[in-house]
Subunit: 145 residues, 4 copies
């Protein structure tokens, strides 16, 4: 899987002393953007070519809290690729301990400039086909992580 | 279901012109806080009594985008209540059209001051038992909405 | 001055137990949007007519912290109106105590669809001329508040 | 000055296509945290020792917009150090062009665990005395950058 590192910032924390739960979806965005960049195509370029990937669904399961100043790794891969949609999978780890803090997924469609469903350009499709793969199991309720 | 209204703000939008997907989890937080307040117990009071409800899982399915200045309604109910956890369900509607823009769920455990699992205080349990109920169907991939 | 009420949400807090300082600028945005709406012209309509008001400068002075679930009032007025720019002033109050928690200002230019400086449309100019006024004193360093 | 690099993320943008103005204050937070870390003392350690640095004032002047996926540099230095407060100064640059996009400052007091003003511990004081210095000119209205 592709790996990208970042830190929990003060503005990410809440009064429980944990990173607020919505920020994980932001970290997922960072993970998929950096995975695509590493594969040779930035999401900015994709949008410039007229295709965007709006989110159809997002899920996150939280196992252990991320705390202020923790160094995290976001691992990102492709779970499944359909004609008109793609699912990414994510794991958030604390770098010092390599503990998995959270796992998640996002599903996206391909949309053209007129906000209509579209086929992805060939270069994007190839990139997603060759991206690191994750088994497309569901994000289950059991605590397997 | 309990209903709370808010507006999409400029800071919620992204360059696609839609509300950024992570903000929906924030709206869910507002929904459950206001549902509890309407039922007679604020989440602030719950925390003051030493119990917090950290999130174990969050899901959101996005059907139509929310846009700047849209008036939204957040509908919130309890999906299921276990000994040590509770699941809330949510619907986000655009007020003008009453279209459902998104549905979601969050699952929480009860935690005491020492970050250990705890039984909810009786008053909180009663509140959650009497809260508006939603069938605990999964947030499915099919586009029923 | 125009007054708009909101609540501090969990996602606004940080591990100090205070509302994170960047959120005040978001509250200022809400204040000026609601002031304009109350005066008869929504910021969405302004943008639809091809004019936007990007921020040139923002300042905030923090006197007392806002905390989770606090009910706040945002007071907004116009400080000064130039040919090509406008300054808004803000006060954030805690509603229960009417304490002033923060004061601030933002300065904006008028920009057309081509990202060029523009004169505001007459209706917007009139609205800003008739909006609640604040003396255009600087947000000073002295702790008067 | 100390320099730290980051990227503008999708969640930072707004429908104008620019980074939303409140995020700059978040970038300032990252800048001062990383400057302190580079000087040998993390802000997490400072808080662990019982001292926090709540913000008294924040200012930002915006010259040119930051856009999605732009690589930015945050330059951070100390503007002035008093007995009970410290002012940091910041510059946000676009890395490709080395253009200055924004400048800003934040002023902080030192606070102990009981939310009372405090003297900074010696190690923190020494760090701030030896940190990169910026002239303590005001963030002026003139467009000099």
């Amino acid at each position: 899987m592709h790996r990208f590192e970042l830190r929990v910032r003060y503005g990410d924390t809440d009064q429980m002393g944990f990173a607020y739960y919505a920020h994980y979806l932001r970290w997922f965005e960072i993970g998929r953007a950096e995975m695509m960049r590493a594969a040779g195509l930035s999401y900015r370029d994709i949008e410039t070519e007229g295709i965007s990937l709006p989110v159809l669904e997002a899920r996150c399961r939280y196992f252990k809290p991320a705390r202020y100043d923790d160094r995290l790794a976001i691992e990102t891969g492709v779970r499944s690729l359909g004609r008109a949609s793609v699912r990414f999978g994510y794991r958030i780890l604390r770098l010092d301990s390599e503990e998995v803090l959270a796992v998640g997924m996002t599903e996206h469609c391909f949309m053209d400039r007129n906000d209509r469903p579209a086929r992805p350009p060939r270069r994007l499709r190839e990139l997603l086909e060759q991206a690191p793969r994750l088994p497309d199991e569901d994000v289950r309720r059991s605590r397997e992580a």
